[in-house]
Symmetry: D2
Subunit: 386 residues, 4 copies
């Protein structure tokens, strides 16, 4: 079967493919004339946590991330496959929040490019030749047009890749940092700005008019980050990849054994978007962490954009398992360059949760079939309670 490249085509799996993402916006961030930096991939998240010991227990003892460095105020962690200094920095602070979404760029010059790019957009930037954190050299941090603290760097200390060190791997071993997910009120505006930054949209959820979420990538996976419609700027989650699905199940089993099953917020399940197998956890501060495996190659320039109908109840979970409301509503604050929480702006577009569940929402498994069984209607469907 041939996909017509010029229009949206329905696939036999129920979603649509097209050559271009539907990221039209009346309110774009003006595209800078400066060339965007060449972003390689998500590199690390700086997470401010209120109880460092509790966070260590979660990320090291439960999840098995490897400690590159730690002291009384911060812990640098990496996944088993990583050769740069860290993928996660836990930093003790007064409030649970994200200090930086950090990307690695292809060359030292790309840090200059990033600085120029954001300066031209009128964003606050801060450059530090010795880096903001251990293990990372010359970096620029910015408050981006959406209000997120983004960082770009090239210089980094190499550490040993522990991929072959199976003696150090736990049953739920985290192999690499996979992506970020950000909450922002206006998804098309955000996606358009990210395209200027050189990202490509791989998947989106929409109803033909409103775009509820969009996924975008630099590395050839489904995403380096995604924009989820909601009150923002907030951090929705940070995601680590495992090799296999049983690794993810092992994390759930371990949390059960530790009587910490309440750290499991949603899943495990199979995503519609990305086709990946997933699990969402909440860390001791409520920061959401996704464990994720097996999405698909997106590295071709004409990689088809996948578009999901917001009313397709297999879009967020291929098995139709209802999304819990907290997953839609909760997210972490982000910090400005002074370390103060950014003000959260309300989304004014439709809410995905409201159009799919609740009194006025609807979802379908088969487009022409209105009768979804009760167990698929979602836990908060009006009239579903006892």
């Amino acid at each position: 079967m041939k996909i017509d490249k010029n229009k949206r085509t329905k696939t036999s799996s129920g979603f649509y493919v097209s050559q271009h993402a539907s990221v039209n916006t009346d309110n774009p961030v003006p595209t800078p004339e400066a060339e965007a930096p060449d972003v390689l991939r998500v590199a690390y998240m700086e997470l401010q946590v209120t109880d460092l010991a509790a966070s260590r227990e979660f990320y090291v003892d439960v999840l098995g991330l490897h400690v590159t460095h730690e002291d009384d105020n911060e812990i640098y962690l990496r996944s088993s496959e990583e050769f740069i200094h860290h993928n996660l920095l836990l930093k003790k602070g007064p409030v649970a929040a994200v200090g930086a979404f950090s990307y690695r760029v292809r060359s030292p010059e790309d840090v200059d490019a990033a600085e120029a790019f954001y300066k031209e957009m009128g964003c606050r930037t801060e450059r530090r030749k010795d880096g903001f954190v251990r293990g990372i050299g010359d970096s620029v941090r910015v408050e981006d047009p959406l209000g997120f603290p983004y960082e770009f760097f090239y210089e980094v200390e190499h550490v040993e890749r522990l991929a072959w060190r199976y003696d150090l791997h736990v049953p739920g071993a985290l192999v690499r940092l996979d992506h970020f997910n950000q909450v922002t009120p206006d998804v098309p505006r955000a996606a358009r700005y990210m395209q200027d930054l050189g990202f490509r949209v791989t998947e989106e959820i929409s109803d033909g008019e409103t775009v509820f979420a969009a996924w975008m990538r630099r590395k050839p996976t489904v995403h380096d980050t995604a924009m989820t419609g909601g009150n923002g700027p907030r951090m929705h989650h940070v995601a680590f990849a495992t090799h296999e699905k049983h690794n993810i199940l092992a994390i759930c089993d371990r949390l059960g054994a530790l009587r910490r099953s309440d750290a499991i917020e949603r899943g495990p399940g199979r995503h519609g978007v990305s086709n990946a197998f997933y699990l969402y956890l909440r860390d001791p501060d409520g920061h959401r962490v996704e464990i994720y495996t097996q999405d698909y190659w997106t590295g071709d320039p004409d990689n088809p954009v996948v578009s999901w109908d917001v009313h397709d109840n297999q879009r967020r979970d291929w098995w139709g398992t209802p999304v819990v409301p907290s997953w839609y509503t909760d997210a972490s604050l982000v910090l400005d360059l002074d370390g103060n929480p950014k003000e959260v702006i309300e989304r004014t577009d439709d809410s995905e949760m409201e159009v799919t569940i609740g009194a006025d929402g609807f979802s379908y498994t088969r487009p022409d079939d209105e009768n979804m069984p009760d167990w698929k209607k979602g836990e908060f469907k009006l009239g579903n309670q006892l």
Copy 2:
């Protein structure tokens, strides 16, 4: 750590173990003097279905069971490891219901023993030397004291075990029939009668007074059947085993691909009770089918009985995932020996659903911790809806 055999001991996993099940009842079925038949294992379920073609699609095309024989009125199916004629008989009929819960006994004489055992209890029995269905010889069917149509047989036609025929296996291959699960109003009464029949209780859920469910076995797994408290006699589910957890996930993925994800009612997840990985499906008639893997050896005569607190929210799902209400309330009718549905008697004891969710119920992850996050409170917890 030594478990004291004479009393209930709390384990480090949060449940209790003891040497004896708490199946006290004021209203027992009188124990017959006739010796119980020596039951080997669950052998097959006869399922009356209203649309044979739809059922065939579900059990053969989706689940990959192997057809031993089929005609216009019935389909005989077996799992990949089975060497007896069938594990599931789909029989076309006017109403969705269970025609027989069939057990294999150790010898031809045990069929006589079964007949005498039930006759002494005053149950209606019917003996057929040539069997009630294809592939099965001399059998007795009874309406047991709880109202269930039980069958016992030894003679059976052997068929080829397809365990080595990997060329015929689907990604979600069902390896063997594992167990039945029955709904009955009075669990201790039911368990006591099953003990007379030679079954041993392996696990139970209680609050110290009321027993909400009990699991019992002949073969050395957690169960051949379980008794679930509720309006009965009804059939809660029939369960098939896979080899690995990914086989169960593959069934979900396949259902999603077929846009039949609404056949997934609950799971996949990890049980607390049995420690098995599970999934609950609903067939085209609404009959519930469990896919199940990796419980534990129970064949020692002093195998510890595991007892779960009904308020422990890891008892039914080790990850604390809320049970959907339909799982508690829906079940299939059963037929009497004339093929008419048995009248359903209401349970008068407490309902597990009501004591754990809803306005008056409560559950915990950690016994001393009252604050369960919203996403763990269950979809029908009062005040949780939008």
Copy 3:
């Protein structure tokens, strides 16, 4: 397809099934009149090791067995699912050897039965009311007619089952003790005696005349022990089960990471016999340990006996991977009741290794196809070396 129960029938998988094992012998151990004890299952092996620290590292640090008790001279280990005191006892001694193959029987009286059974056969027996080792009560040890030190007991200290303690499980977690494997010169004689002891043969390898190996069970799996033709009495291996195949692969990966890959002797692979996935390791003393998963239910009294042609090169490995010679030739000594190694008697029947590889041997993948590629001919096939 119906299997005729009265004769050997070729299956579509290439092996044969029949109702009775071909264990004819001219030289039987006379059947005692005393009733055989009711053996439940393999319970533990007592392994004499020459370097306790090295063995601890292997069984605890690498394989993840759980320590029930340890001191300077012995270590008691159990698998994650076990509730009896131990499945493996490592005992420091002057020579690498097996001190006991220990079985659990159904009742205290069965220990008396075992004692009488072996006494009547003229075997040396020793009864100890307080047991020979920690955690085990009243036991009898015997030097059986084949020269093996067998033990039978019922009384045992219960310990906590760690099946739910996923926080303690390693990626290659060993779930239960599965079986022993013994080397003895005359397999039919051995099988016949084991049948008297109440074991049932489940599978065998033969050429129609000579029986090269036979598998036999009490619990309803493929075996509690097997008899492998060769110089004996010696212990071929002791086997532990995992839940899934990836657990076995994880053990290999871990050994590679520890630069101990030379502990891997054969596999991982899929057995023909038993249909299980397997791996053979050698411990620091050279004792062979199998890791095994996913054989099939054999608990029906008319379970078909599977018979493999010795020339079928998928019998020992379903993928046709050649067996390494050491696997055929090496085995551990066994001790008599005084702790002295038993003399090893040579096998006079044909050797499986010789009839399948080497100058005069042959094997086939397809019965009518003589051209097996070089890589399948086995590493020692004449003319195959450089």
Copy 4:
């Protein structure tokens, strides 16, 4: 631990890392002044086969590749994740050989660049605006400096990605084309030319002087192709990826069930190089196919080059399983642009097989330990045969 970027550093896993590959050559292919095309990734292999029906059975019925198009002379196949027309083209022909190693480039202009690049090197090239095969547009084919038929294209027909079509997936589903592997006499010369073509070396096997093999990539995995030292130009193998390790095991099981286990040449096992899980098959013509999963991210420009000692017996198999000689010696012919087999030139450098096994070779598991057990010495180690 910090890796010094300027020199070769031994890791705790036993191999070395450095910033630059040791691809020194006295006999380089002169670097063209023309800019190299921007190669995206391996796209497809054109395989000439002598019995199209037999090949179809192997690649479609056994391996489950999806047919995009087929007629009496050719079959176009793709993996489940692919959205371009095909990953494998089976073409009927008089001799088993490779017609093209085809790469996709980033833009239409890169086809021009490829043509100029090879023309400058004096290679024979052929440009076809409508492509050489179905589904592919404007392409250039070249006989590269090593004698291999390389193809470069951008234009391609899109087809539906079947990643979500789990109803079509077999237990051993092939997800994507992963890499090629080529046999060539002079590895450093080959690697140097491939670097000119824009490839980066990720791993290599050497003894400090001779380079025995090198892996090189465009996409950020361990390789798009590898150069294996030997008589060439020949094709060593083409590799497809699965999602999980059990998918690879399922292929073995299926081959056993079909009594085609002799199609398995080597593995399954864990590679040292690449850290991937692998299996090598031989198709009906003897073409070697690898099934491969779970290597690591290599997309950073300073990704450390991994270097393995040729005497490290965990380099090719992390578990130390001996490599079968056919794996070293057998390979497929390649065709020139007229469809005639290229002459094979003998390697004059040391042979990896000879320096590691046989009378003069040696390998180690632990560098200082000379005593490798017999089962690890390799099947052709002198003195090992019976």
